[in-house]
Protein backbone atom coordinates (compact mmCIF):
# COMPACT_ATOMS: atom_id res chain seq x y z
CA UNK A 1 0.00 0.00 0.00
CA UNK A 2 1.30 3.46 -0.68
CA UNK A 3 1.50 5.77 2.30
CA UNK A 4 1.61 8.93 0.20
CA UNK A 5 -0.20 9.18 -3.12
CA UNK A 6 0.15 12.50 -4.92
CA UNK A 7 -1.62 13.32 -8.15
CA UNK A 8 -1.21 16.54 -10.15
CA UNK A 9 -0.67 18.50 -6.97
CA UNK A 10 -0.07 22.24 -7.43
CA UNK A 11 0.27 25.26 -5.19
CA UNK A 12 0.08 28.88 -6.22
CA UNK A 13 0.78 31.92 -4.08
CA UNK A 14 -1.26 34.52 -5.90
CA UNK A 15 -0.12 34.29 -9.50
CA UNK A 16 3.15 32.60 -8.59
CA UNK A 17 3.32 28.84 -9.01
CA UNK A 18 5.46 27.38 -6.24
CA UNK A 19 4.70 23.71 -6.92
CA UNK A 20 3.52 22.56 -10.30
CA UNK A 21 1.64 19.38 -11.05
CA UNK A 22 3.47 16.83 -8.86
CA UNK A 23 2.62 13.18 -9.26
CA UNK A 24 4.37 10.50 -7.22
CA UNK A 25 3.79 7.97 -4.51
CA UNK A 26 5.72 6.78 -1.50
CA UNK A 27 5.32 3.21 -0.33
CA UNK A 28 4.92 2.18 3.29
CA UNK A 29 8.35 1.77 4.88
CA UNK A 30 10.10 3.69 2.13
CA UNK A 31 12.52 6.56 2.60
CA UNK A 32 11.78 9.15 -0.03
CA UNK A 33 13.99 12.17 -0.60
CA UNK A 34 13.02 15.38 -2.30
CA UNK A 35 16.03 17.21 -3.70
CA UNK A 36 15.94 20.65 -5.20
CA UNK A 37 17.55 24.08 -5.17
CA UNK A 38 16.41 26.92 -2.89
CA UNK A 39 12.87 27.95 -3.70
CA UNK A 40 12.13 24.70 -5.53
CA UNK A 41 8.95 24.12 -3.55
CA UNK A 42 10.15 21.42 -1.16
CA UNK A 43 8.87 23.06 2.01
CA UNK A 44 5.64 24.02 0.26
CA UNK A 45 5.14 20.37 -0.72
CA UNK A 46 5.67 19.14 2.84
CA UNK A 47 3.33 21.79 4.19
CA UNK A 48 0.56 20.73 1.84
CA UNK A 49 1.04 17.06 2.73
CA UNK A 50 0.95 17.87 6.46
CA UNK A 51 -2.30 19.84 6.00
CA UNK A 52 -0.63 23.05 7.08
CA UNK A 53 -1.50 24.97 3.93
CA UNK A 54 -4.11 24.31 1.28
CA UNK A 55 -3.43 22.94 -2.17
CA UNK A 56 -4.44 24.95 -5.22
CA UNK A 57 -5.31 21.96 -7.37
CA UNK A 58 -4.73 18.24 -7.69
CA UNK A 59 -5.00 15.60 -5.03
CA UNK A 60 -2.98 13.87 -2.38
CA UNK A 61 -3.76 11.06 -0.02
CA UNK A 62 -1.95 10.23 3.17
CA UNK A 63 -2.66 6.68 4.34
CA UNK A 64 -5.89 6.85 2.38
CA UNK A 65 -7.05 10.20 3.79
CA UNK A 66 -7.55 13.01 1.31
CA UNK A 67 -5.67 16.21 2.14
CA UNK A 68 -7.66 19.43 2.17
CA UNK A 69 -10.91 17.50 2.29
CA UNK A 70 -12.36 18.59 5.56
CA UNK A 71 -11.35 19.13 9.14
CA UNK A 72 -11.84 15.51 10.13
CA UNK A 73 -9.49 14.11 7.46
CA UNK A 74 -6.89 16.76 8.28
CA UNK A 75 -7.01 15.85 11.95
CA UNK A 76 -6.73 12.15 11.11
CA UNK A 77 -3.72 12.83 8.88
CA UNK A 78 -2.01 15.04 11.42
CA UNK A 79 -2.46 12.34 14.06
CA UNK A 80 -0.50 9.79 12.09
CA UNK A 81 2.35 11.96 10.92
CA UNK A 82 5.30 13.55 12.67
CA UNK A 83 6.95 16.69 11.32
CA UNK A 84 10.43 18.07 11.86
CA UNK A 85 10.16 21.48 10.18
CA UNK A 86 13.18 23.41 8.90
CA UNK A 87 12.73 25.94 11.71
CA UNK A 88 12.32 23.47 14.50
CA UNK A 89 10.48 25.85 16.84
CA UNK A 90 11.16 24.49 20.31
CA UNK A 91 10.01 26.48 23.35
CA UNK A 92 13.25 27.93 24.68
CA UNK A 93 11.95 28.56 28.20
CA UNK A 94 10.83 24.98 28.62
CA UNK A 95 13.00 21.94 29.24
CA UNK A 96 13.31 19.11 26.74
CA UNK A 97 10.97 17.09 28.93
CA UNK A 98 8.36 19.85 29.05
CA UNK A 99 8.58 20.42 25.30
CA UNK A 100 7.94 16.74 24.66
CA UNK A 101 5.26 16.47 27.31
CA UNK A 102 3.30 19.34 25.74
CA UNK A 103 3.40 17.71 22.33
CA UNK A 104 2.54 14.34 23.82
CA UNK A 105 -0.61 15.94 25.20
CA UNK A 106 -1.42 17.66 21.93
CA UNK A 107 -1.03 14.33 20.16
CA UNK A 108 -3.45 12.87 22.68
CA UNK A 109 -1.09 10.30 24.19
CA UNK A 110 -2.32 9.07 27.57
CA UNK A 111 -0.11 10.08 30.47
CA UNK A 112 1.52 6.67 31.02
CA UNK A 113 2.36 6.27 27.32
CA UNK A 114 3.71 9.81 27.29
CA UNK A 115 6.04 9.12 30.19
CA UNK A 116 7.37 5.93 28.65
CA UNK A 117 7.86 7.51 25.22
CA UNK A 118 9.56 10.64 26.51
CA UNK A 119 12.04 8.56 28.48
CA UNK A 120 12.54 6.21 25.53
CA UNK A 121 13.23 8.91 22.97
CA UNK A 122 15.30 11.18 25.19
CA UNK A 123 17.42 8.17 26.10
CA UNK A 124 17.71 7.23 22.43
CA UNK A 125 18.89 10.80 21.70
CA UNK A 126 21.29 10.64 24.66
CA UNK A 127 19.58 13.60 26.29
CA UNK A 128 17.93 11.95 29.26
CA UNK A 129 20.37 13.31 31.83
CA UNK A 130 19.79 16.84 30.51
CA UNK A 131 16.04 16.48 30.31
CA UNK A 132 15.24 19.19 32.85
CA UNK A 133 17.43 21.92 31.39
CA UNK A 134 15.75 24.65 29.35
CA UNK A 135 16.41 23.89 25.69
CA UNK A 136 17.84 27.39 25.25
CA UNK A 137 20.98 25.89 26.84
CA UNK A 138 21.20 23.17 24.20
CA UNK A 139 23.51 23.07 21.19
CA UNK A 140 22.04 23.04 17.68
CA UNK A 141 22.54 19.31 17.32
CA UNK A 142 20.84 18.64 20.66
CA UNK A 143 17.93 20.88 19.70
CA UNK A 144 17.54 19.02 16.43
CA UNK A 145 17.42 15.77 18.37
CA UNK A 146 14.72 17.15 20.67
CA UNK A 147 12.74 18.21 17.59
CA UNK A 148 13.02 14.67 16.21
CA UNK A 149 11.96 13.19 19.54
CA UNK A 150 9.01 15.59 19.52
CA UNK A 151 7.95 14.35 16.10
CA UNK A 152 8.15 10.74 17.34
CA UNK A 153 6.36 11.17 20.63
CA UNK A 154 3.06 9.69 19.38
CA UNK A 155 4.79 6.91 17.43
CA UNK A 156 3.69 8.11 13.98
CA UNK A 157 3.82 5.86 10.92
CA UNK A 158 4.96 8.63 8.63
CA UNK A 159 7.65 11.21 9.27
CA UNK A 160 8.44 14.41 7.42
CA UNK A 161 11.89 15.93 7.77
CA UNK A 162 12.57 19.33 6.23
CA UNK A 163 16.34 19.62 5.81
CA UNK A 164 17.12 17.85 9.07
CA UNK A 165 20.90 18.22 8.87
CA UNK A 166 21.19 21.73 7.46
CA UNK A 167 23.28 23.90 9.81
CA UNK A 168 24.64 20.93 11.73
CA UNK A 169 28.31 20.09 12.00
CA UNK A 170 29.35 16.83 10.26
CA UNK A 171 29.28 14.83 13.47
CA UNK A 172 25.83 15.98 14.57
CA UNK A 173 24.60 15.53 11.01
CA UNK A 174 25.81 11.96 11.13
CA UNK A 175 24.03 11.31 14.41
CA UNK A 176 20.80 12.67 12.94
CA UNK A 177 21.25 10.52 9.81
CA UNK A 178 21.83 7.45 11.94
CA UNK A 179 18.62 8.16 13.82
CA UNK A 180 16.75 8.41 10.52
CA UNK A 181 18.26 5.11 9.38
CA UNK A 182 17.24 3.56 12.68
CA UNK A 183 13.68 4.78 12.15
CA UNK A 184 13.74 3.29 8.68
CA UNK A 185 14.72 -0.06 10.20
CA UNK A 186 11.75 0.21 12.51
CA UNK A 187 9.56 0.38 9.41
CA UNK A 188 8.60 4.04 9.45
CA UNK A 189 7.83 5.74 6.18
CA UNK A 190 10.08 8.76 5.82
CA UNK A 191 9.81 11.80 3.58
CA UNK A 192 12.86 14.00 3.64
CA UNK A 193 13.72 17.31 2.01
CA UNK A 194 17.40 17.88 1.60
CA UNK A 195 20.16 19.74 -0.23
CA UNK A 196 22.70 17.24 0.93
CA UNK A 197 23.28 14.80 -1.89
CA UNK A 198 25.57 12.43 -0.06
CA UNK A 199 22.94 12.21 2.63
CA UNK A 200 20.19 11.52 0.11
CA UNK A 201 22.31 8.83 -1.47
CA UNK A 202 22.98 7.19 1.86
CA UNK A 203 19.53 7.12 3.31
CA UNK A 204 16.94 7.38 0.54
CA UNK A 205 15.41 4.46 -1.28
CA UNK A 206 14.18 6.81 -3.95
CA UNK A 207 14.85 10.40 -4.85
CA UNK A 208 12.75 12.99 -6.61
CA UNK A 209 14.39 16.06 -8.08
CA UNK A 210 12.11 19.06 -7.77
CA UNK A 211 12.31 22.47 -9.33
CA UNK A 212 8.73 23.66 -9.13
CA UNK A 213 8.00 20.61 -11.30
CA UNK A 214 9.15 17.11 -10.47
CA UNK A 215 11.98 16.63 -12.97
CA UNK A 216 12.73 13.00 -12.32
CA UNK A 217 12.21 10.32 -9.73
CA UNK A 218 14.16 7.11 -9.20
CA UNK A 219 16.51 5.17 -6.95
CA UNK A 220 19.87 6.94 -6.55
CA UNK A 221 21.68 4.30 -8.66
CA UNK A 222 19.11 4.21 -11.45
CA UNK A 223 19.04 7.99 -11.47
CA UNK A 224 22.74 8.10 -12.28
CA UNK A 225 22.35 5.44 -14.93
CA UNK A 226 19.42 7.00 -16.70
CA UNK A 227 20.97 10.43 -16.63
CA UNK A 228 24.46 9.44 -17.68
CA UNK A 229 24.11 6.00 -19.23
CA UNK A 230 26.84 3.43 -18.55
CA UNK A 231 30.33 4.62 -19.19
CA UNK A 232 33.62 2.79 -19.07
CA UNK A 233 36.95 4.55 -18.69
CA UNK A 234 40.01 2.74 -20.01
CA UNK A 235 43.29 4.36 -19.11
CA UNK A 236 46.21 3.38 -21.31
CA UNK A 237 49.88 4.33 -21.18
CA UNK A 238 49.51 6.27 -24.40
CA UNK A 239 46.58 6.73 -26.78
CA UNK A 240 47.42 6.45 -30.48
CA UNK A 241 45.51 6.17 -33.78
CA UNK A 242 45.95 2.41 -33.99
CA UNK A 243 44.29 1.95 -30.62
CA UNK A 244 41.44 4.29 -31.50
CA UNK A 245 40.86 2.54 -34.83
CA UNK A 246 40.72 -0.79 -33.01
CA UNK A 247 38.19 0.57 -30.55
CA UNK A 248 36.04 2.10 -33.28
CA UNK A 249 35.75 -1.28 -34.99
CA UNK A 250 33.44 -2.36 -32.17
CA UNK A 251 31.34 0.78 -32.78
CA UNK A 252 30.69 2.09 -29.27
CA UNK A 253 27.67 4.40 -28.83
CA UNK A 254 29.88 7.28 -27.86
CA UNK A 255 33.63 7.70 -27.65
CA UNK A 256 35.76 10.44 -26.24
CA UNK A 257 39.40 10.78 -25.29
CA UNK A 258 40.71 12.82 -22.38
CA UNK A 259 44.52 12.75 -22.20
CA UNK A 260 45.31 9.06 -21.86
CA UNK A 261 41.76 8.02 -20.95
CA UNK A 262 39.33 6.52 -23.43
CA UNK A 263 35.73 7.05 -22.30
CA UNK A 264 33.14 4.76 -23.88
CA UNK A 265 29.37 4.83 -23.67
CA UNK A 266 28.05 1.28 -23.69
CA UNK A 267 24.71 -0.42 -23.61
CA UNK A 268 25.84 -3.51 -21.75
CA UNK A 269 29.27 -2.83 -20.25
CA UNK A 270 29.71 -6.25 -18.65
CA UNK A 271 29.41 -7.95 -22.04
CA UNK A 272 31.22 -5.32 -24.13
CA UNK A 273 34.13 -4.32 -21.86
CA UNK A 274 36.20 -7.49 -22.48
CA UNK A 275 35.99 -6.97 -26.26
CA UNK A 276 37.28 -3.41 -26.04
CA UNK A 277 40.05 -4.37 -23.64
CA UNK A 278 41.10 -7.20 -25.97
CA UNK A 279 41.07 -4.87 -28.98
CA UNK A 280 43.26 -2.31 -27.22
CA UNK A 281 45.72 -4.95 -26.09
CA UNK A 282 45.86 -6.42 -29.61
CA UNK A 283 46.58 -2.93 -30.99
CA UNK A 284 49.59 -2.75 -28.67
CA UNK A 285 48.01 -0.60 -25.97
CA UNK A 286 49.22 -1.02 -22.40
CA UNK A 287 46.21 -0.78 -20.08
CA UNK A 288 46.67 0.88 -16.70
CA UNK A 289 43.09 1.01 -15.36
CA UNK A 290 39.59 -0.05 -16.45
CA UNK A 291 36.91 1.64 -14.37
CA UNK A 292 33.24 2.39 -14.50
CA UNK A 293 32.56 6.11 -14.74
CA UNK A 294 30.80 7.08 -11.54
CA UNK A 295 29.64 10.66 -11.78
CA UNK A 296 27.96 10.54 -8.38
CA UNK A 297 24.66 12.00 -7.34
CA UNK A 298 25.96 15.53 -7.21
CA UNK A 299 26.95 15.61 -10.86
CA UNK A 300 23.72 13.86 -11.75
CA UNK A 301 21.66 16.34 -9.80
CA UNK A 302 23.44 19.33 -11.31
CA UNK A 303 22.97 17.90 -14.79
CA UNK A 304 19.24 17.38 -14.26
CA UNK A 305 18.83 20.90 -12.89
CA UNK A 306 21.03 22.34 -15.67
CA UNK A 307 18.85 20.74 -18.33
CA UNK A 308 15.83 22.78 -17.17
CA UNK A 309 17.60 26.05 -17.96
Amino acid sequence: MSMIEVKNLSKKFGEFTAVDNLTFSVAEGEVFGLLGPNGAGKTTTIRMLCCLISKTSGDAQIAGYQIGDDGTASLAIRKLIGLVPDNIGLYDELSAYENLDYYGKLYECPEDVRKVNIEHFLTMMELWDKKDQPVSNYSKGMRQKVAIARALIHDPKLLFFDEPTANLDPESARVVRDIILQLKKEGKTIFINTHNLAEAQRICDRIGILKTKLLTINTPEELEKTVWGSKTVIQVEEVNDQILAAVRRYSPKDLSVEENKIVLSLTDPQKENPDFVQAIVDAGGRIQYVTQLNPGLEETYLKVIEETK
Binding site: I53, S54, L75, R78, G89, L90, Y91, A151
Partner: protein
Protein backbone atom coordinates in the same frame (compact mmCIF):
# COMPACT_ATOMS: atom_id res chain seq x y z
CA UNK B 1 -13.89 22.68 19.37
CA UNK B 2 -12.57 20.61 22.26
CA UNK B 3 -12.07 22.69 25.39
CA UNK B 4 -9.60 20.12 26.70
CA UNK B 5 -7.30 20.92 23.76
CA UNK B 6 -7.62 24.66 24.32
CA UNK B 7 -6.82 24.10 27.96
CA UNK B 8 -3.59 22.22 27.03
CA UNK B 9 -2.48 25.22 25.00
CA UNK B 10 -3.37 27.60 27.83
CA UNK B 11 -1.62 25.45 30.46
CA UNK B 12 1.58 25.49 28.46
CA UNK B 13 1.42 29.27 28.37
CA UNK B 14 0.82 29.40 32.11
CA UNK B 15 3.93 27.29 32.56
CA UNK B 16 5.90 29.67 30.34
CA UNK B 17 4.80 32.65 32.44
CA UNK B 18 6.12 31.05 35.59
CA UNK B 19 9.52 31.02 33.86
CA UNK B 20 9.24 34.44 32.24
CA UNK B 21 8.57 36.40 35.39
CA UNK B 22 8.44 39.78 33.65
CA UNK B 23 5.46 38.64 31.60
CA UNK B 24 3.77 37.34 34.71
CA UNK B 25 4.35 40.58 36.65
CA UNK B 26 3.02 42.66 33.75
CA UNK B 27 -0.47 41.57 34.81
CA UNK B 28 -0.11 43.32 38.14
CA UNK B 29 1.59 46.69 37.63
CA UNK B 30 -1.51 48.72 36.99
CA UNK B 31 -3.62 46.72 39.44
CA UNK B 32 -1.21 47.26 42.32
CA UNK B 33 -0.97 51.00 41.76
CA UNK B 34 -4.73 51.44 41.52
CA UNK B 35 -5.90 49.02 44.20
CA UNK B 36 -3.34 49.90 46.87
CA UNK B 37 -2.16 53.38 45.85
CA UNK B 38 -5.49 55.06 45.27
CA UNK B 39 -7.13 54.20 48.61
CA UNK B 40 -4.35 56.13 50.29
CA UNK B 41 -5.05 59.09 48.03
CA UNK B 42 -8.67 58.82 49.19
CA UNK B 43 -7.55 58.66 52.77
CA UNK B 44 -5.62 61.85 52.25
CA UNK B 45 -8.61 63.52 50.59
CA UNK B 46 -10.95 62.57 53.45
CA UNK B 47 -8.76 64.42 55.91
CA UNK B 48 -9.67 67.72 54.21
CA UNK B 49 -12.76 69.58 55.34
CA UNK B 50 -15.87 69.23 53.15
CA UNK B 51 -14.66 66.09 51.46
CA UNK B 52 -17.86 64.13 52.07
CA UNK B 53 -19.75 65.89 49.27
CA UNK B 54 -17.24 65.32 46.46
CA UNK B 55 -16.08 61.88 47.61
CA UNK B 56 -18.74 59.72 45.88
CA UNK B 57 -18.03 61.35 42.48
CA UNK B 58 -14.32 60.78 42.90
CA UNK B 59 -14.82 57.18 43.98
CA UNK B 60 -17.13 56.50 41.08
CA UNK B 61 -14.49 57.72 38.65
CA UNK B 62 -11.84 55.62 40.40
CA UNK B 63 -14.04 52.54 40.06
CA UNK B 64 -13.89 52.98 36.32
CA UNK B 65 -10.13 52.55 36.44
CA UNK B 66 -10.78 48.84 36.86
CA UNK B 67 -12.21 48.75 33.35
CA UNK B 68 -8.90 50.12 32.15
CA UNK B 69 -7.16 47.60 34.42
CA UNK B 70 -9.09 44.75 32.85
CA UNK B 71 -8.03 45.94 29.40
CA UNK B 72 -4.37 46.47 30.32
CA UNK B 73 -3.77 43.32 32.34
CA UNK B 74 -3.84 40.84 29.41
CA UNK B 75 -1.63 42.91 27.07
CA UNK B 76 1.70 41.50 28.21
CA UNK B 77 0.53 37.91 28.14
CA UNK B 78 -1.45 38.07 24.91
CA UNK B 79 1.34 39.66 22.93
CA UNK B 80 4.02 37.39 24.37
CA UNK B 81 1.96 34.28 23.88
CA UNK B 82 1.64 34.88 20.13
CA UNK B 83 4.64 36.98 19.15
CA UNK B 84 6.77 34.71 21.34
CA UNK B 85 5.61 31.68 19.30
CA UNK B 86 6.26 33.61 16.13
CA UNK B 87 9.77 34.59 17.12
CA UNK B 88 10.56 31.03 18.21
CA UNK B 89 8.92 29.73 15.01
CA UNK B 90 6.95 27.24 17.06
CA UNK B 91 3.64 27.78 15.29
CA UNK B 92 4.45 25.42 12.42
CA UNK B 93 5.03 22.30 14.55
CA UNK B 94 2.13 23.34 16.77
CA UNK B 95 -0.21 23.57 13.77
CA UNK B 96 1.05 20.19 12.59
CA UNK B 97 -0.45 18.51 15.68
CA UNK B 98 -4.06 17.34 15.61
CA UNK B 99 -5.24 20.62 17.08
CA UNK B 100 -7.57 22.97 15.25
CA UNK B 101 -6.97 26.68 14.70
CA UNK B 102 -9.93 27.52 16.96
CA UNK B 103 -8.55 25.38 19.78
CA UNK B 104 -5.18 27.11 19.62
CA UNK B 105 -6.82 30.53 19.46
CA UNK B 106 -9.12 29.67 22.36
CA UNK B 107 -6.16 28.40 24.38
CA UNK B 108 -4.17 31.55 23.77
CA UNK B 109 -7.18 33.68 24.69
CA UNK B 110 -7.83 31.75 27.89
CA UNK B 111 -4.16 32.11 28.83
CA UNK B 112 -4.45 35.89 28.60
CA UNK B 113 -8.03 36.36 29.80
CA UNK B 114 -8.17 34.26 32.98
CA UNK B 115 -5.14 35.64 34.85
CA UNK B 116 -6.04 39.18 33.81
CA UNK B 117 -9.60 38.92 35.01
CA UNK B 118 -8.45 37.17 38.17
CA UNK B 119 -5.92 39.89 38.93
CA UNK B 120 -8.50 42.58 38.24
CA UNK B 121 -11.01 40.91 40.56
CA UNK B 122 -8.49 40.69 43.37
CA UNK B 123 -7.51 44.30 42.70
CA UNK B 124 -11.11 45.44 43.06
CA UNK B 125 -11.50 43.47 46.30
CA UNK B 126 -8.45 45.09 47.84
CA UNK B 127 -9.41 48.53 46.58
CA UNK B 128 -13.02 48.31 47.77
CA UNK B 129 -12.03 46.96 51.18
CA UNK B 130 -9.45 49.70 51.78
CA UNK B 131 -11.77 52.43 50.55
CA UNK B 132 -14.60 51.23 52.81
CA UNK B 133 -12.17 51.16 55.71
CA UNK B 134 -10.98 54.70 55.08
CA UNK B 135 -14.30 56.33 54.22
CA UNK B 136 -16.86 54.68 56.45
CA UNK B 137 -16.53 57.19 59.26
CA UNK B 138 -16.88 60.14 56.96
CA UNK B 139 -19.70 58.82 54.77
CA UNK B 140 -21.56 56.95 57.48
CA UNK B 141 -22.12 53.98 55.15
CA UNK B 142 -20.03 51.50 53.16
CA UNK B 143 -19.50 52.93 49.67
CA UNK B 144 -18.72 49.49 48.19
CA UNK B 145 -20.22 47.22 47.00
CA UNK B 146 -22.53 49.13 44.72
CA UNK B 147 -24.15 48.43 41.37
CA UNK B 148 -21.51 50.29 39.41
CA UNK B 149 -18.63 48.20 40.69
CA UNK B 150 -20.63 45.01 40.18
CA UNK B 151 -21.21 45.97 36.54
CA UNK B 152 -17.54 46.85 36.17
CA UNK B 153 -16.26 43.62 37.69
CA UNK B 154 -18.66 41.19 36.11
CA UNK B 155 -19.68 42.80 32.82
CA UNK B 156 -17.80 45.80 31.54
CA UNK B 157 -14.39 44.62 32.80
CA UNK B 158 -14.56 41.14 31.24
CA UNK B 159 -15.90 42.61 27.96
CA UNK B 160 -13.06 45.13 27.88
CA UNK B 161 -10.58 42.38 28.71
CA UNK B 162 -11.92 40.28 25.84
CA UNK B 163 -11.62 43.24 23.51
CA UNK B 164 -8.06 43.74 24.59
CA UNK B 165 -7.20 40.06 24.02
CA UNK B 166 -8.69 40.15 20.52
CA UNK B 167 -7.04 43.43 19.65
CA UNK B 168 -3.70 42.06 20.83
CA UNK B 169 -4.07 38.94 18.69
CA UNK B 170 -4.56 41.23 15.69
CA UNK B 171 -1.52 43.32 16.65
CA UNK B 172 0.55 40.19 17.20
CA UNK B 173 -0.21 38.89 13.73
CA UNK B 174 1.51 41.98 12.31
CA UNK B 175 4.39 42.21 14.73
CA UNK B 176 7.71 40.44 15.10
CA UNK B 177 8.85 41.96 18.32
CA UNK B 178 7.27 41.37 21.71
CA UNK B 179 8.05 44.82 23.07
CA UNK B 180 6.56 46.79 20.20
CA UNK B 181 3.53 44.49 20.21
CA UNK B 182 3.04 45.30 23.88
CA UNK B 183 3.36 49.01 23.29
CA UNK B 184 0.86 48.97 20.46
CA UNK B 185 -1.31 46.62 22.46
CA UNK B 186 -1.44 48.99 25.40
CA UNK B 187 -3.05 51.62 23.16
CA UNK B 188 -6.27 49.75 23.88
CA UNK B 189 -6.51 51.84 27.04
CA UNK B 190 -6.75 55.14 25.14
CA UNK B 191 -10.51 55.16 24.47
CA UNK B 192 -11.18 53.97 28.02
CA UNK B 193 -8.76 56.52 29.40
CA UNK B 194 -10.70 59.15 27.47
CA UNK B 195 -13.92 58.03 29.17
CA UNK B 196 -12.18 58.27 32.52
CA UNK B 197 -10.97 61.82 31.83
CA UNK B 198 -14.44 62.83 30.67
CA UNK B 199 -15.91 61.52 33.89
CA UNK B 200 -13.32 63.29 36.05
CA UNK B 201 -14.05 66.55 34.24
CA UNK B 202 -17.77 65.89 34.75
CA UNK B 203 -18.55 65.94 31.02
CA UNK B 204 -19.73 62.36 31.26
CA UNK B 205 -21.62 60.99 34.20
CA UNK B 206 -20.72 57.38 35.00
CA UNK B 207 -24.21 56.38 36.08
CA UNK B 208 -25.27 52.76 36.20
CA UNK B 209 -27.24 53.27 33.00
CA UNK B 210 -24.26 54.79 31.22
CA UNK B 211 -22.06 51.89 32.32
CA UNK B 212 -24.60 49.44 30.91
CA UNK B 213 -24.72 51.38 27.64
CA UNK B 214 -20.91 51.30 27.60
CA UNK B 215 -20.98 47.54 28.16
CA UNK B 216 -23.37 47.12 25.24
CA UNK B 217 -21.09 49.16 22.97
CA UNK B 218 -18.01 47.16 23.99
CA UNK B 219 -19.95 43.92 23.45
CA UNK B 220 -20.77 44.95 19.89
CA UNK B 221 -17.13 45.85 19.21
CA UNK B 222 -16.14 42.49 20.76
CA UNK B 223 -18.26 40.67 18.22
CA UNK B 224 -16.69 42.59 15.32
CA UNK B 225 -13.18 41.97 16.66
CA UNK B 226 -14.02 38.29 17.17
CA UNK B 227 -14.77 37.87 13.47
CA UNK B 228 -11.62 39.78 12.49
CA UNK B 229 -9.54 37.59 14.77
CA UNK B 230 -11.15 34.44 13.46
CA UNK B 231 -10.30 35.45 9.90
CA UNK B 232 -6.71 36.28 10.90
CA UNK B 233 -6.05 33.19 12.97
CA UNK B 234 -6.12 30.58 10.21
CA UNK B 235 -3.26 28.20 9.63
CA UNK B 236 -2.80 29.22 6.02
CA UNK B 237 -2.69 32.92 6.98
CA UNK B 238 -0.39 32.23 9.91
CA UNK B 239 2.14 30.27 7.86
CA UNK B 240 2.08 32.27 4.66
CA UNK B 241 1.09 35.83 5.56
CA UNK B 242 2.06 36.50 9.18
CA UNK B 243 5.40 38.15 8.95
Amino acid sequence: MRLSKAWMVASKDFKTFTKRKSIFYSIFYFEVIVSIGLPFVIRFVTSKPGAAASLPILLNAFSFLFVIGAALAPVGIASYSLVGEKVQKSLEPLLATPTTDEEILAGKSIAAFLPAIGANFVGVLIFATLVDLFTHNLLGYFYYPNWNIVIIVFLLGPLACLLSVGYNVLISSRSNDVRSAQQLGALIMLPMGAVYVLSETKVLDLTTTNLLIGAAIVAVIDVVVFFLVKATFQREEILTKWK
